[in-house]
């Protein structure tokens, strides 16, 4: 699904958190959001999902203004895995993934065989099918993250918004998830902290203090100069002989008091 965002912005009280962000994301593209803590990545994702009150700007989903769609119509098009998910209910893993079917169900179309197999597939995709009957509150951080991703997959969206999805994941599951994201035939907007993972995106946007300061293919955007100015690190690009890809090593940057 093609996503166009025009001049998105949001303020908490008088403090501007995200300001004047516009972007065009093509169908099937994997679009990464990077930036330091508090730069507005999560807020921008929530703006795209239409979850914030008093938001500025507009979002077009395949040319349709999102504010003209009902919540249910939006949820059938996009799924969102937030940075944090908490519940006090004693839900099982399967219960949580079944929540993903919510926008597709109604009293006339109750949960059926097809929904059950979509849920089962989603559990399988993230490798959680053997733990389907376990209680959510007994899971480890990475397992919870994978269950939320399965929930989002069960939503069968055409746009997937992921906020630090590799957070808490062990290295095997990080790579598995990145591979999955790359192969899914849907548009993905993903906030990531690991800049080497960000190199795998089709395009990257760099957020700094609520504004988008750069946008383009990773090779063009992630220059040592920009890494120094935005992330305050010294970065050395290296070449991995296994696949000839560029990887970064980072060195602490002494910062004079400012």
């Amino acid at each position: 699904m093609r996503v166009v965002a025009n001049d998105l912005g949001w303020s908490a009280g008088t403090k501007s958190i995200v300001n004047g962000v516009s972007m065009e994301i093509n169908a099937g593209e994997t679009f990464g959001l990077i930036g330091p803590n508090g730069s507005g990545k999560s807020t921008l994702l929530k703006l795209i999902a239409g979850l914030l009150p008093r938001a500025r700007g507009s979002v077009l989903l395949d040319g349709k203004p999102a504010h003209e769609l009902s919540r249910r119509e939006i949820a059938r098009r996009m799924a969102f895995v937030e940075q944090h998910a908490e519940t006090s209910e004693a839900l099982t893993v399967r219960d949580v993934v079944e929540l993903g079917r919510t926008p597709w169900l109604s009293s006339l179309a109750p949960f059926g065989q097809e929904d059950r197999s979509i849920v089962q597939n989603a559990l399988h995709t993230v490798g959680m099918n053997s733990m389907a009957e376990n209680r959510w509150d007994t899971l480890s951080g990475g397992e919870r993250q994978r269950v939320q991703i399965a929930r989002a997959l069960a939503q069968r969206p055409r746009l997937l918004l992921l906020d630090e999805p590799t957070n808490h994941l062990d290295i095997h599951h990080q790579l598995a998830l990145l591979r999955l994201i790359g192969h899914l035939p849907v548009t993905v907007i993903v906030a990531v902290h690991d800049l080497n993972q960000a190199m795998g995106c089709d395009r990257l946007a760099i957020m700094e203090r609520g504004e988008m300061v750069a946008c383009g293919p990773p090779g063009e955007v992630l220059t040592p100069e920009r890494l120094a100015s935005v992330f305050r690190v010294n970065a050395t690009p290296l070449r991995d002989p296994a696949d000839n890809a560029t990887v970064f090593r980072f060195h602490h940057m002494e910062i004079s008091a400012s």
Binding site: K46, A49, G50, L51, S70, R71, R72, E73, I74, A75, R76, M78, A79, F80, E82, A85, E86, T87, S88, E89, A90, L91, D95, L99, G100, T102, P103, L105, S107, F111, G112, Q113, R116, Q155
Partner: protein, 342 residues
């Protein structure tokens, strides 16, 4: 298979639950100061429903048909309504301790009902119920605003509920002190503790439709209530029209609470303890929790009513006292079990 796995659990608890409810209704009619045999009860019900023409002592017939049966049915409706209100409030405010009594909704309903009764603004059962509904809505809005403004946490909500209850209870006392005659005051105090002795068939015309409508609304919203488990914003991203669902569900809970309070007074803990007990039995998914809580609330309330009649021979204990005697320890259990999350 498609229907099987979701039906099997229902067959496990739903059918026995319904049988238990019927048995409880029968027990509610049979047990009392003057125990009446089951066959007399069946004969009276048969006579009244389809003119069966059994020979029955007219006094027994009167007690059963005009007194005990409506009383038991009101108890059932009231228990179901309060338990459903509890389920709804716990889901909407995402707080295990939410319940119409603790959140001050019952206190607000009492104030509204008393105001209408004493100040004679509307009069009649409908007028009293309408007053109770206005009072209950006002109380909920006040408590919700206070809880939100003070940070919106679990503790804040409970504290705001206490403040709201105290305020509305004080208002009720004030209205009584200012305007009621001594006799009115005694009657109202007795009613406020929860009292089913005035239940008549007319009251059923209010209680049963309200609970039926509330139940259908809850069933309609089971998936939305499930979606609230991870919070309001997660529910929105799952396609729930959050504001609309909140208004409809809170409206239903307030309506049920207000009607029950105007019929039988303020009854504590049913809305809190029953849904939690049912979570243990049937799990947290609302498709099962809603019918299970309605059933269990109805059965519990009939049992409490029977207990209130036989606990002290020759005297009726207010039903609110019985539910509190059972509910307070239940509440303590919930607190202990939830201690990590508070």
């Amino acid at each position: 298979m498609a229907a099987g796995s979701s039906l099997r659990p229902f067959a496990l608890w739903g059918l026995p639950g319904c049988c238990l409810l019927v048995a409880a209704v029968l027990a509610g009619v049979v047990v009392g100061e003057l125990p009446l045999p089951v066959d007399t009860v069946m004969a009276v019900i048969g006579n009244n429903l389809w003119n069966a023409g059994h020979a029955v002592d007219p006094i027994d017939g009167g007690i059963i048909w005009n007194y005990r049966l409506p009383r038991t049915l009101i108890a059932a409706a009231c228990g179901a309504g309060l338990a459903l209100s509890g389920v709804v409030l716990q889901s909407i405010v995402r707080n295990a301790l939410a319940d119409p009594y603790l959140l001050g909704v019952s206190a607000g309903a009492s104030t509204g009902a008393v105001a209408v009764t004493i100040l004679g603004v509307g009069g009649g059962l409908l007028g009293i119920s309408a007053g109770a509904f206005v009072g209950a809505s006002l109380a909920f809005v006040l408590v919700a605003i206070l809880a939100h403004a003070s940070g919106g946490g679990s503790a804040q909500l409970v504290l705001a509920g206490i403040a709201g209850s105290q305020l509305f209870n004080a208002l009720t006392s004030f209205i009584i002190a200012k305007s009621a005659s001594a006799e009115q005051a005694r009657g109202i105090m007795f009613w406020l503790l929860g009292n089913l002795s005035g239940a008549r068939w007319d009251d059923i015309g209010l209680a049963v439709p309200v609970v039926a409508v509330g139940f259908v609304i809850c069933l309609w919203c089971v998936r939305a209530m499930d979606a609230f488990s991870f919070g309001v914003s997660s529910a929105a991203s799952l396609g729930v029209a959050v504001r609309k669902v909140q208004i409809v569900l809170i409206g239903a809970a307030t309506l049920m609470t207000a009607s029950m309070v105007s019929l039988v007074g303020s009854i504590s803990f049913v809305g809190l303890v029953i849904p939690h007990a049912m979570r243990f039995l049937v799990g947290p998914r609302h498709a099962r929790l809603v019918p299970a809580s309605a059933l269990a609330g109805a059965i519990f309330m009939i049992a409490a009513d029977v207990a209130s009649r036989i606990l002290i021979p020759g005297q009726v204990v207010p039903i609110g006292v019985v539910t509190a005697l059972v509910g307070a320890p239940g509440f303590a259990l919930i607190l202990l079990q939830k201690r990590r999350q508070l």
